[in-house]
């Protein structure tokens, strides 16, 4: 909880400071833009959070977004699939990818880093091969379909809520219920903390981990569908590049530990928003765009460092208190 408040504080501070220095940052247009992009990244981050809680990692999110983004227009435009069927199919591909990861990790006992690194290469390559490396899009004849991602709900003034924010909130609420109210959620945390104890307690740890990878890739697939309708122009060789790193960064910033067993949906969503806000602030404040990564990297590092500091301090305080109790 402290962690969430801390990162929320940073988010608000960055927004206020940027808003004062550059009022255009708080304009309806910019905020709509920032929230829309935040929503996509928050969705991807929620997905990878499940895997990170088990102590694993998924590096293949970007290429999954890329593959889905290229397959979808291919199926709809070139092969004339009904859009609904096409969406189900590409999400199925994503789920299959997650299943493969999960099986390789739990049954073949391969390391998650290695499995998903290989996935990263394979899905990127597949996207390029299937499309003949040609730019993919829906053209101008599917504008109704594009509204799935582009629709905006108007608010008073020139403010509006982009529809992906609504999807993201629904996913976030479902994910939070899943993590906190279901048996599976409890198992995820238990496995992340001590897989052996969980296994010895009669939990089918392999199945729970498999589920985490399926969720991660499927959610990445959904994010990929939304991004495809929004962008309407996908380069097979680069669409979705580095998205996995943003997703992991947001999860870590939001309180996930790569050691596993920690993380909350609220933290991860705020983390994802903070990354996009920093990106936008960097632009609006006229900081050279070449320094973008430097800004984000530094904030991430500072956040993790501060967290360790707080943990160390509170642990030490606890020890001192218990030492006093013993002495008394």
């Amino acid at each position: 909880m402290k962690r969430i408040l801390g990162i929320l504080g940073i988010l608000i501070a960055v927004m206020v400071v940027t808003g004062i220095l550059q009022p255009a940052f708080l304009s309806g247009y910019n905020l709509s833009n920032v929230t829309q992009l935040s929503a996509y990244f928050a969705i991807l981050s929620i997905g990878v959070m499940f895997v990170i809680i088990t102590g694993g990692i998924d590096l293949s999110i970007g290429p999954v977004v890329g593959l889905v983004g290229c397959l979808l227009p291919l199926l709809i435009v070139k092969y004339g699939f009904h859009p609904a069927l096409a969406i189900v199919l590409v999400m199925g591909v994503a789920a299959l990818i997650g299943t493969t990861h999960g099986l390789l990790i739990t049954k073949a006992k391969l390391q998650p880093f290695v499995v998903t690194l290989c996935g990263w290469l394979i899905y990127r390559g597949l996207a390029r091969w299937i499309t003949g490396d040609a730019n993919q899009g829906f053209g101008n004849s599917f504008n109704g379909l594009l509204e799935i991602s582009r629709k905006k709900i108007p608010l008073p003034g020139d403010y509006q809520v982009p529809i992906p924010v609504v999807y993201m909130l629904i996913i976030a609420v479902l994910a939070a219920i899943f993590l906190n109210k279901t048996v599976w959620g409890r198992y995820l945390y238990a496995i992340g903390r001590n897989e052996q104890a969980a296994h010895f307690s009669g939990i089918n740890t392999d199945r729970v981990k498999l589920m985490a990878y399926v969720l991660c890739s499927t959610i990445a697939g959904f994010g990929g569908v939304l991004l495809a309708f929004d962008l309407n122009s996908m380069q097979p060789s680069s669409h979705g590049n580095t998205y996995e790193l943003y997703a992991i960064a947001a999860a870590v910033l939001g309180g996930c530990s790569l050691r596993g067993g920690e993380g909350s949906v609220a933290g991860v969503v705020i983390g994802a928003v903070l990354l996009r806000v920093l990106y936008s602030a960097n632009n609006m404040l006229g900081i050279p765009s070449t320094l973008e990564y430097v800004t984000i990297g530094t904030v991430l590092l500072a956040g993790v460092l501060a967290d360790e500091g707080v943990k160390w301090y509170s642990q030490r305080r606890k020890l001192i208190q218990s030492a006093r109790k013993v002495a008394a």
């Binding site: 279901t182 048996v183 198992y187 238990a190």
Partner: protein
């Protein structure tokens, strides 16, 4: 049974008094003293590992250190080798008092300890390992030629027929042990200390090691080693030093080295009174294991059965294969062969989950690594195994039920915790163990397996755990508990299975139970 115990106590009480009153054993007439420990004391939180222990060692002798688990053997060896400093007493080398600040200090005086877990870099060659950290150099580069030459000499001395270029990982455990000895020789060891050197060796490798040890003795080296194998000690040692409960009990010279004498000196403490298990008429058989073979001991077949309302103890020395047997039964490790019957029905237990569904539960040996999720709360640990069973629609956690279940266990087992929301890592060992037991009791097991249930638990909590075990048996559960604490095994068991080197070597009924009988079976002997 009563007479036997009395005899045992009287036979050994004499030696105990000798030991505590006697000063440094006077051996200067025989040969010069090489290494001596005088009145060494070492305390750990909650226990006195060594209490004024005095021993001395001369060149060209082989001394075995004998004692039960927890007698203080390893601690004494560590102090002699500078791994740990003593809290009291002093060490003498060549009659001069010395203080070892660390292992290096001890090595400089020619005292080298070879750990039970070998300290070799398995990815490097024999030569590289022999001179790790002190490589001879030439022009600032490692002098491979000198390493090779010196290594060859050393390998010849320990009778290891490999080239210095061989990668250590390719050698068997016994051969690696010889590399460790070669390493000790290369630093001119005068005293070589080995902690259970033959524990993981085959018969052939053991013979090889004996040969090397005898050669070292001929070269004037003093070899001190810990072993649980009495036959091995009889064959090799010139002298046995016996420790018990951190105290020096006495010595046995080669001439008087009988199995009976060693066992009685090792265990001869008087049994403290307390709840003792009264004889019960056990119920019908509920569980049977037939010809089970574990991966750790592929040549041993084991069979046993459990009856309702019965507490069965499983005794044996550390590494006798008891934990491996429990793990195989509970579906953690897949057995190589064998059958398991629950209520006379053949069952397949492929995972702890399957075992749980058959009404089994395991309180594992490693409480922190295998029993608990330390960072999770007492409540969440309690419900970990039964969460799905209580969930609504099989998915949604029944939070109210969680609170009730957890509180029920805290009350029933008298677990001391400030709140059931507290992370279980902040509880004492005994209370942590109660949480593990509570977790399993919530699953209503019929068969409860416990692996060293009172290890690392204080005396008061031990009594509590005994009480809980008694109560559960009274309710008709079958309990099988592994313990290295003989006193506890004798007190709590209706029947005892004894294991030695992976095999159940015997079964003792309550009437046959004595420490002597258990130790005889546990060290590979037969019942007299």
């Amino acid at each position: 049974m009563g007479d036997r115990r009395e005899n045992m106590v009287s036979a050994t009480s004499k030696t105990t008094t000798d030991a505590t009153t006697g000063p440094l054993p006077d051996r200067t007439n025989d040969s010069p003293l090489l290494l001596a420990a005088s009145q060494i004391t070492k305390e750990f939180p909650g226990c006195k590992a060594l209490d004024r222990v005095s021993v001395s060692f001369s060149p060209s002798e082989i001394v075995a250190i004998l004692g039960e688990n927890g007698a203080g053997k390893s601690t004494l060896m560590k102090i002699l080798a500078g791994v740990q400093p003593p809290d009291g007493g002093e060490l003498l080398v060549d009659g001069q008092p010395v203080v070892f600040r660390d292992v290096r200090d001890a090595i400089e005086h020619g005292i080298v300890l070879i750990h039970q877990e070998l300290n070799l870099a398995e990815n490097l060659s024999i030569g590289a390992n022999l001179f790790l950290g002190r490589e001879p150099t030439r022009w600032g580069f490692i002098d491979q030629k000198t390493i090779r030459r010196l290594s060859r000499e050393l390998l010849e001395r320990v009778g290891l027929n490999y080239t210095p270029e061989t990668i250590v990982g390719e050698l068997s455990t016994g051969q690696q042990q010889l590399v460790e000895i070669a390493k000790a020789l290369s630093i001119q060891a005068r005293v070589l200390i080995m902690d259970e050197p033959t524990a993981s060796l085959s018969q052939y490798e053991t013979e090889l090691l004996y040969g090397v040890v005898r050669k070292l003795k001929a070269d004037g080296v003093c070899v001190i080693y810990i072993s649980h194998r009495l036959s091995e000690i009889q064959e090799l040692a010139d002298r046995v030093v016996v420790l018990r409960d951190g105290q020096y009990v006495g010595e046995i010279s080669r001439a008087e080295m009988t199995r009976e004498k060693m066992v009685s000196m090792m265990i001869g403490r008087s049994l403290t009174s307390g709840i003792e298990r009264h004889s019960h008429t056990p119920g019908p058989e509920v569980f049977r294991v037939k010809d089970l073979v574990t991966t750790a001991f592929p040549e041993a077949r084991n069979s046993f059965s459990l009856k309702a309302g019965e507490i069965v103890g499983m005794a044996g020395l550390v590494g006798a294969g008891r934990t491996e047997l429990l793990r195989a039964v509970f579906g953690i490790d897949r057995p190589l062969a064998g059958e398991i019957f629950c209520d006379s029905k053949l069952v397949r237990i492929s995972s702890p989950r399957a075992a749980m569904h058959l009404g089994m539960a395991l309180v594992p040996e490693d409480r922190k690594g295998e029993g608990l999720v330390l960072e999770m709360s007492v409540r969440h640990n309690h419900t970990l195994a039964t969460l799905a069973r209580q969930a609504s629609l099989g998915v949604f956690i029944n939070a109210a039920q969680e609170v009730t279940d957890s509180q029920r266990m805290i009350t029933a087992l008298r677990t001391k915790t400030a709140s059931d929301q507290l992370a279980v890592q902040f509880l004492s060992g005994g209370n942590q163990q109660k949480v593990v037991i509570g977790k399993w009791l919530l699953s209503n097991p019929k068969i409860l397996l416990l692996d060293e249930p009172t290890r690392g638990v204080d005396v008061g909590a031990k009594q509590e755990i005994y009480r809980i075990m008694e109560e559960l048996a009274g309710q008709g559960l079958s309990l099988l508990f592994v313990s290295s604490d003989l006193e506890e095994v004798i007190r709590m068991s209706d029947r005892v299975l004894v294991m030695h080197e992976g095999k159940i070597t015997g079964e003792l009924s309550r009437q046959q139970l004595s420490e002597t009988a258990i130790m005889a079976l546990a060290t590979g002997g037969a019942l007299s």
